[in-house]
Symmetry: C2
Subunit: 140 residues, 2 copies
């Protein structure tokens, strides 16, 4: 079902400062920057490793407002890991299989993720306290 | 510097229950179980993806006692992501490079990690609130 750890999503207060920190400290390259109004974040993807089915990234997330999901996370827990995403070949199929096992899905159908991907989130309480994202990369 | 996301370390109260949950929900295979007295944990590695330089895993961690680092983490934050680990070709070299950039190392020298690896931890406050581990896999 899983093809890779697609990305680690890290919530931060200052996207530009954290891009600089991560890029310089770990010698990583920024491969995408986006604003996702639906999710209330501006974000950057730093490439950790490339692969045939999709890459592995550090995703840095700055909330667009304090009452967005990432804004609330920061107020409650501070900066750090917000979610973990796994690459799947077909997100709708993975949602069906995982949902059939009793795990609650936070999305009824796939929605738009970073870099043209199709994504869905799982309820963290049903998977060990980890907010978990499924990612079908835009690349075949 | 980074070759892969090596693993996501997840703190849990009941290792056997969480192995069952993750293995069944995500169709993952347990490839190693260990007790690490030095770190005060018993743990399991579930393979997400294999690679030439090393695999990517979900690592489940149950504390051996409440006053261990993972025991204290659970008491404070509950179950969830405890740390994130990145694969490097040479952990001592990565420690030197990262330390030279002003990031505090929690280990003075590499120590023994899961499956024969050599590891070191970085101070989470210096890398965006994420407890970060460097892993040199036992495999070449």
């Amino acid at each position: 079902m899983f093809m890779r750890i697609d990305h680690i999503g890290i919530a931060c207060h200052d996207l530009e400062a954290k891009i600089k920190l991560f890029a310089e400290t770990f010698e990583l390259t920024v491969v995408a920057r986006e604003v996702n109004e639906e999710q209330g974040v501006k974000e950057a993807m730093l490439l950790v490793a490339d692969g045939a089915g999709g890459g592995s990234y550090i995703q840095l997330l700055e909330p667009l407002s304090p009452d967005s999901p990432v804004g609330k996370f920061l107020a409650k827990r501070g900066e750090g890991v917000h979610h973990v995403a796994f690459g799947v070949p077909d997100v709708a199929d993975a949602m069906d299989k995982i949902g059939a096992k009793g795990v609650r899905l936070l999305d009824e159908r796939p929605r738009h993720g970073t870099m043209g991907s199709q994504i869905a989130f799982l309820h963290p309480k049903d998977v060990g306290g980890m907010l978990t994202e499924l990612v079908q990369a835009a690349r075949p």
